[in-house]
Amino acid sequence: MAELKVLFKDIDVPGIERLEVYEQHGGYSALRKALGMTRQQVIDEVKASGLRGRGGAGFPAWIKWNGIPKDESQPHYVQCNADEGEPGTFKDRELMLRHPHQLIEGIIIAGYAILSKVGYIYIRGEYTEPARVMRRAIDEAYRAGYLGKNILGSGVDFDLYIHMGAGSYECGEESAMMSSIMGERGQPRLKFPHAPLPTIAGLWNCPTLINNVETLSCVPAIIRNGGAWYASMGTEKSTGTKIFSVSGHVNKPGNYEVEMGTPLMELLELAGGVKGKLKAVIPGGSSVPILPAEKCDVNLDYESLQSAGTMLGSGGFMVLNDTVCIVKFMRRTAAFYAHESCGKCTPCREGTRWMVKIFDRILAGGGRMEDIDLLLDICDQIDGRSYCGLGDAAAWPIRASIQHYRHEYEYYIKHGRSMVEVEGKAVA
């Protein structure tokens, strides 16, 4: 079983991050092609491809593209989400670090399709290495006339700016990211139906297209080879390929691009197999429910993982072997969300912190059996009650961990120490 490389097709070409090499491998031919098409034709290709958002939500890309008003009464913006903060995910990092022009080309095409003249790449502050590569690549693109005024003599203008974050996971959430770009605290904004969709009123209340790095990186290939070609890969509802960032207890951690619907176990093999005995995987980043080993006989696509009780999420594929103490691991997860909660809404702000305090008490040997159900109830009280997905994302993993590993919690509470440690192989 091998990888199926679309985004990574040329990633191992030496110097592909440089413009001339990228051009030698067909770089920016998609942009030329797109400029020759009508805007609607471009959008229709994306529709035909069935491309879905790779940032986590899996929302069909073309619907957003098509939702942008077709007139220019207001400025339109492209907002590329390069904040990659989902624990366990590092695909956008590699896409920017090693294949910057592919992303830039995708962004320009998107800009053309939605009548936008300005785009922002929001790169998290920690990602200075990818940011510098992007900087150099963008400057190259300007020099070559792919960016700026009158792109390739087409009369189309497009400026692309880098906006760096400064340390906040929440800013990966699209509306919080808008706040952050507009110079505010990184807190989310009202969502539909409480406010218009970003495609109608996003940045500075103007139509804004928000897509993830991987999503936009798919665009050049789709335009070049046609939506049908892309849709021919993967499953019916989950088309194309997906990059999984495999980390944890595997022999060859790293990013692997596979066809949607690939069996989970095959991905594990690609990553060199599990170190030690597989205990569980978290297939879509820290926010998705944990998947115990016995349930790992599942395919990697949105629907299959859904029905397996978890989610594809961002493709942050974390592998845990049997040395991992679930209680400690989940305490670390809870601590992450408590640290990253923006503090805007009550359930997320108070609930996440409360859960950490309970975990700490349990780990300190002061646990009570009722704490387990208390944790579950707090999860219920956070889930779906808060402004953005962070609250939900804080609840799901904990809830799932209790569903699958209640006995480990009970053991810890009864004996004041980890079941795994007793077996003498705890790592976390």
């Binding site: 503090g343 009550t346 359930p347 702000r349 912190r353 409360w354 009280q381 009650r385 402004y387």
Partner: protein, 760 residues
Amino acid sequence: MAQEELVTIEINGIELQVPKGEMIIESAKRIGVDIPFFCYHPRLGKGQAANCRMCLVEAGTKQPDGSVRMMPKPQTSCTLPASQGLVVFTDTVAIQKARRGILEFLLINHPLDCPICDRGGECPLQNNTLFYGPAVSRFIEEKRHLPKAFPLSDYVVLDRERCIHCARCTRFSQEISGDAQLEFLKRGADMMVSTFQDTEFTSRFSGNTIELCPVGALTSRAYRFRARPWDMKSQKSICTRCSNGCNIWLDYRPNRLVRVLGRENEAVNEEWTCDRGKFGHEYISSDRRLLSPLIRRDGKFVTASWVEAYHLIASHLRQAVAEHGAQSVGAIGGAHLSNEEAYLLQKLMRVAVGTNNIDHRLERNQVAGGDTLLARLGVPFTQNAIADIERAKTLFILGADLVDEQPIVFLRARKAWFRFGANVIIAHPEVTETELRFDEPVILRYREGTEKTLIHGLLYLVLQSGKAVTSALPSEELQSLQASLSAYTPSRVSQETGVAESVLRETADLLGEGTLVLCAGRVRNHPEYAELVGALVNLTLLTGNGARENGGLNILLPEVNSHGAADMGVLPDMLPGYVRVSDTTARQRMEKLWETALPAEPGLNTQAMLESAAEGHLQVLYVVGEDIAHKYHDPDLARRALENAGFVVVQDLFLTETAQYADVVLPAASVAEKEGTFTNTERRVQRFWKAFNAPSPEVKPDLNIFAELAVYLGKPLPVFSAEQLMEEIGQAFPAYAHCCYDQLPPEGVRWQTTSLGEEE
């Protein structure tokens, strides 16, 4: 205004029609369904709202086939707009659980120190917990600890442990008052509200945040531990600290004022107050109030009975009139009296004493009441209502620091810009707090005293631009104006005023229909007042704002009843209703009403009275409710006048510096201890009610004092009540005919200037 579209929605099975886009939390009120909330506030933008999550409801939409598709998650009703076919459930089991959850979350870090919390008894957190909260908390961990009772300013105390992060105060300071002095620091559970680096909270509107706070996190330093809400009574009143006429509640315990709260009046202050108003009424319950009349005996004040005092005053008045004529008597004051009292004061002087020596103005400019505006725009001072400011296209703030001088007018001006995107032009010689409250307004930093040149310069450009509404001026006037303006070229004006030509042009471009000019002290007291106002009137007319709602000229006034005093004829040259004393027919009308002859020649204005007193000509000087020795624009003159006047009567709440010079001091009741009406700077006549008794039975409302004094002068002016007097005022000044108490609506009425036209 286009009338709003209605949509049909369903709340808990009840169908109702509401305006499209109305927030469901509001729609629910219409059918008496209570939805608990904390962070929601109708006057705060919803952009930053919906953070407390207390107002969650279940919602769905009716499908064509009649079925209902429910949204997967509960929705915050405070931000959920009503749309056709929306179906809402506010009290399902799920929602009840959610509410318990939210309240449990809010309480885990709340100190629950209700026994020593000033909010206790009127606390949304207490109330919502009572009705929707969990019976017990399952939180056994350590609560957060933060400094308690942290004094942010002389007015506001902050208790961060009590804060529930609803963001009402921060939103107020950023959206309404605009100083943005309150903001959240940090994030998540560490988030806390703060001023920059814990520096002083200097906002002029800080008091409002106390009322907005749904818990006891922001409390009033003045009200601290003074009462429990249920120990207090409230009375409707009007703020006396400036001419804006904010509606307020006086909260009091037996005969003592405890605190002041904002009272809703959409037309005036919406629901806000400035800090001067909110914290500036302590004087009412001060221990230094005068408690009985005082008479000076060999240099010292001794308490006296009213009978003695009246006899003494009356005898001096009679003697003065007999020996030196009525011109030797004068009265100063009225801007702090109610309309009824002001009316009676001038009637007392004109009818019982027989002089026109009466004036309420203490500022330098004492040219006849609102002359130019009256003649050319048909209004005494202000063309627009405060609420009109919202609709203005361009605000031109000339020589005024509104934040300081006209706080509530400022809030409207800011709303016009923040909510409705009005352009803002600020002309002032110095940096003002006001200009800091707008993002990059056009700033005209002119040289002190060059206002007239500046306006002429703008007129020049407006005429040049060709957009001027020349038809607004009679052709010969227009020609002479154009001639006189030819000298005011941009370059010259720029030289004289110090304002860059480009800025002058930018400003001129913004002027046009919907330009609303706001002026205050600097213009009122300008050395060239008449010419300056003349120029402003020309600007108003030529920009087509002669008779507009969303544009016009407004010269805002200083004191709570400056406008009313002028309306009531507390002016040496005008009878009630801006009727010239020299106008025979009009005077005769008044003589008929008052059944007596009236002096025909104008009296002395304040300045003239004081000068004549200083020279020892004035036999009796009657000062009512004004500390002229301290507040008159030329205090030395005032002091010399008080020293050299034959006999000085001072009527006030306190033994002021002025009172120190008096031969007789009369103790007057405060606004809380009497009833009446004030007329604010936009001509709005508003009622205030008696809250409690004066500190002593010897303290009388000014109305009674004037009436009784008249009796001692042998010219009784029978009055039984302020209400009855208002009816007489209505006859004297028809514009006030609609102000009889039984007709006066809760929000008051702006009296119609049309009746003025008839007079001329």
